[in-house]
């Protein structure tokens, strides 16, 4: 694959599903309609913590159009959500309410309006208990236990070298504490599922979701039926960013239970408020950071304590804590590292996966500290990063070594180079403050420490020379269908217009795990590459027979089989396909790609974890209005080593989108609570960036060759979040001369700080 001349890979192909999407033809879960469709609407707790004493549904059942109210006891299986241990979350709260917004029953009616009217008259008697709302309250010695095992969900350590010694022998030590807030995914389409008993003895669920296999397992467990009886079909999904994983299992199970009870289709479509209060958020965090360095800028040690506020249930906290642990020291070669990463329970909305998965929080802390260190040592911040940057052959934080595809220094050099030709406006106009900030980051690609990483993909070539690709990873708007099509097209020499990529239907594709960890193109792409390769063997074998030559004299290109040494000697691929079919050569294959397994010490987190890392350096220049605190981003460079880029346009889309999410995290978005109740559960008061808040991101890729991905690819979906958030914080610090230690750094926070400094 290395140095191969590529036809499809590396081209900005149009999105294969773009036409359906922009013409409004794409069918989302909420578009499903059946003559006897019922609608479910959940009753949710208005308080953060309490014991459920009684739920009186008698009034609700009298509301016209109400056919059923599903209570916890009606869930015949485990009444469980949770895609990994400790499996501590009920689908419907049974005895105890652990966050405001938690559902305790589902009202089912002939219309959304009826269901909602029914939900309004359910009388819940909940005995309030004082909620635990902060990290400190959760950690307090005599704190009430939110779960039987206590308030610590998980705590992990990373130990490399001898930190005590490094700190003792250092020239400078810096220390500080950083905090970040919860962030909401705010996808255009909220969580929607539609469970349909098609009368085939099974249950089918059409879902807006990220990980159909998670949903399938949960539905089976909650219905108490074999997994084989459940079919999950992913509908077009209007964004997920990590948020439609746990939540989709919750409402998918509920809809299935209700549908089976009635023998009729049931849809649950979260309202925006439910999508904010009743579905996962990004973990809020508090990170204590100590850094030891030599006078020349060599970083000799880092000691980091990470506390993640995970809300009421574990959800994906154990994995997020792990990812934060591994990434907290940053993309640097540091010999002595000691990190402790702990996730905690509080009585707030539960937290889970969100683009970046713990990395944005720790990168903000780490890169703020890098700038402070540069200041202390009177070094150029990029020089300091460059001096400590990981290179091929270096031991990273987990002592894993990559011999190639470590392009961090190239990303730093690119920023140094481009920054040279950029000048900030002069500071003469005293209304504004100007500053440029930098941040370097890395992000592991693949499931890594989160367990086995296998993807199954099928490729089927038809007699007319077209091909159908099936894979168990979901298209969420990120463009994975297009990328898989490009890879199949590249291998088979078939043009892109003849390639279809199925939406995930759990009946027809292999369980490929969740669509997470920026792994689709790398691990999924490899499975497509292999499956296409197997079918290609049949085609080459057939073409060889037809040409009466050896297979290695033939290439597949532009829908033809042609001779390597005579490009005019060619047979249309459909003729080859027909012949192969009638000769009995297999035209379909199911292949697996399995990422090298993570092997590491459980106590020290030392060992090989991810199959590759994406490295990046961001630069952001800002103008701050001294009178209003308004920030205008004047320039944003996002330079990433994401290996080979399969589709530059899609790549740019991922970088811009992820950067804007990072900008939102750093500047705009803050979930606000009063007594544990979210008080801004709408997109007017929760300031997710709008189109007018877009930043002028410039996407630059440094292509290295990653041997673990097809054609050398890595991933790009998540990494820019961290880079944009951290460089924003550093830019604001540079402009104002004030170090902000808490995200978001809003207009308000900036202006108040400037005025207090005066």
């Amino acid at each position: 694959m290395r140095n191969q001349e590529l036809v499809q890979v590396g081209k900005s192909a149009l999105k294969v599903d773009g036409r359906e999407l922009v013409t409004g033809k794409a069918k989302f879960s909420g578009d499903f309609n059946f003559p006897d469709l019922l609608h479910g609407y959940a009753c949710r707790s208005k308080i953060a913590a309490g014991y459920i004493k009684d739920i009186d549904i008698s009034q609700a059942l009298k509301v016209p159009g109400i056919v059923d109210v599903v209570l916890p006891k009606d869930i015949l299986g485990g009444n469980i959500v949770g895609i990994l241990p400790p499996y501590d979350q009920p689908v419907l709260a049974d005895k105890e309410i652990r966050y405001a917004g938690e559902s305790f029953c589902l009202v089912v009616g002939t219309s959304v309006r009826a269901a909602k009217a029914g939900a309004r008259v359910v009388i819940a008697t909940i005995e309030p208990i004082p909620p635990i709302l902060t990290i400190d309250e959760a950690l307090a010695k005599d704190a009430r236990k939110i779960h039987a095992a206590g308030n610590i969900t998980v705590s992990k350590k990373l130990i490399k070298g001898d930190c005590a010694k490094a700190f003792a022998e250092s020239d400078v030590i810096l220390e500080d504490t950083f905090e970040t807030s919860n962030q909401e995914h705010a996808y255009l389409e909220t969580e929607v599922v539609c469970a349909v008993p098609y009368g085939d003895g099974r249950i089918t669920v059409h879902a807006s979701c990220q990980s159909p296999f998670h949903i399938r397992g949960h539905i089976a467990a909650n219905l108490n039926v074999p997994v084989a009886n459940v079919k999950v079909v992913q509908a077009y999904t209007g964004g997920s960013f990590g948020g439609k994983d746990d939540t989709a299992t919750e409402i998918g199970s509920l809809a299935a239970v209700a549908a089976v009870r009635q023998g009729k289709p049931v849809m649950i479509s979260n309202e925006r408020e439910e999508s904010i209060v009743g579905s996962t958020l990004r973990h809020a965090s508090r990170i204590h950071y100590r850094i030891a360095a030599k006078k020349d800028g060599t970083i000799t040690g880092k000691e980091i304590k990470i506390l993640l506020d995970g809300g009421a249930y574990a959800a994906e906290s154990p994995f997020v804590a792990m990812k934060a642990l591994i990434h907290s020291a940053g993309p640097y070669k540091i010999d002595n590292i000691k990190v402790e990463s702990t996730a905690l329970y509080t009585n707030k909305t539960y937290c889970g996966a969100f683009r970046g998965f713990g990395v944005p929080q720790v990168t903000f802390a780490s890169e703020s500290m890098m700038d402070e260190l540069a200041k202390k040592l009177k070094m150029d911040p990029l020089e300091l990063r460059r001096k400590n940057a990981l290179k091929p052959g270096d031991l990273n934080a987990t002592s894993q070594v990559f011999q190639e595809s470590v392009g961090l220094i190239e990303t730093i050099d690119k920023v140094i180079d481009l920054n040279r030709s950029y000048t900030l406006p002069s500071k003469k106009q005293d209304r504004y403050l100007y500053g440029t900030g930098f941040a370097s980051m890395y992000q592991g690609i693949s499931n890594g420490a989160e367990g086995i990483d296998v993807v199954g993909a099928s490729v089927q070539v038809m007699q007319d020379g077209s091909a159908l690709v099936g894979i168990g990873l979901t298209e969420l708007g990120q463009g994975s269908r297009t990328v898989f099509a490009q890879i199949a097209a590249e291998v088979l020499g078939i043009s892109l217009d003849k390639i279809s990529v199925k939406q995930v239907d759990t009946d027809t594709v292999h369980d490929s795990g969740p669509t997470v960890a920026s792994r689709s193109t790398t691990v999924g792409g490899m499975a497509v590459y292999k499956a296409a390769g197997e079918v290609k063997r049949s085609l080459l074998k057939m073409a060889a027979l037809m040409f009466k030559t050896e297979e290695n004299n033939i290439i597949l290109k532009d829908n033809f089989a042609q001779l390597v040494f005579d490009e005019n000697a060619k047979i249309p691929l459909n003729d080859v396909c027909v012949a192969a079919y009638w000769t009995g050569f297999p035209l379909m294959n199911l292949s697996f790609s399995k990422a090298p397994e993570a092997k590491y010490d459980q106590d020290t987190t030392q060992g090989n974890i991810y199959i590759a890392y994406n490295y990046g350096t961001h630069m952001m220049s800002v103008r701050i209005d001294k009178l209003t605190g308004e920030v205008k981003v004047l320039k944003h460079l996002a330079v990433h080593d994401a290996g080979k880029v399969v589709n530059p346009k899609a790549f740019e889309g991922q970088v811009e989108g992820a950067s804007l999410t990072g900008f939102g995290l750093a500047h705009l978005e803050k979930i606000q609570y009063r007594e544990g109740v979210i008080i801004n559960p709408n997109l007017a008061d929760y300031a997710v960036p709008t189109i007018k808040d877009r930043i002028p991101s410039e996407t630059i890729s440094i292509e290295t060759y990653n041997p673990t991905g097809p054609y050398g690819v890595k991933g790009i979906g998540e990494p820019p979040v961290s880079g944009a958030a951290a460089s924003f914080a550093n830019a604001v610090a540079k402009a104002t001369g004030i170090r902000f230690k808490k995200l978001p750094i809003t207009r308000q926070v900036i202006l108040e700080a400037i005025n207090r400094k005066k």
């Binding site: 009217a117 009178l627 209003t628 308004e630 606000q672 007017a684 300031a687 960036p689 709008t690 308000q748």
Partner: protein
Amino acid sequence: MQYFLSATLNELLLVLDSESNSEIIAGGTDLVIIMEESGKRPEKLIDITNIKELIGIKEEKFGISIGAVTTIAKLAANNSLPCCLRSGAASIGSPQIRNVGTIGGNICNASPSGDTLTPLICLNADLLLQSTKGERLISTEQFFLGPKKTVLKKNEVLSEIRIGNRYLSGSSGFRMIGQRNGQVISQVNLAVWLKRSAESGLIEEIRIAAGSVAPTPIRIIEAEEMLCGTNPGAKLIFQAARSVQACITPINDVRSTAEYRQDVIIGLFSDIMSQILKEPQSC
């Protein structure tokens, strides 16, 4: 719940008079949200968007008349309206909201942060309230009693907003700030109208109104007095800004701290003043 679609003003007034638990709905961009949140429904919802008499912007002898059911988008696009009102309208919500939301709804909803309210106060606009019993004209400044509270009676409709010729001359400006740039609700908004003497160039009359800094939008008379009769330079403008700051009584809420509201109003005021004084025609 019953839904009435009134065709004429007369019909509307009759319905309003006879129905006790009724509510007017115009664009519904405030009302529907309130209904959804509370789960409460009035017995009668009276849609006024078909009443032609209440729609449109007309030039009259006294100045300009704006029908209460004129959409926010129409206001934002109408060049015969003073700058502050156009900018205030343009800063409301998103295109979708502006296309259905109405000026009457913005006024009668009486949110302290309503973005056309401070412009109307500084333009000394009058509101025409009508019922079967007759009509009354009340100045915008007197209309608001508190958040969501106005002097409007149950059987009355706001039919028209009037801006006098005096206030169509002169120059004005509006500035708001929120948490982000797009589709954003004001943390603070501020409108200024002023008229300078043709001969001396001194400010002959000035009106300043601030929103989202008190239970209702308020006029800032102290700052007006400070600037009246002057040709203010940067220093005086800053002093006036300080007095604006001193007059407001903001609170902490989900959108902003009181401290930020206090701080940022200085910048907003300076911006408007420099825009009006330096480029009175630009808007």
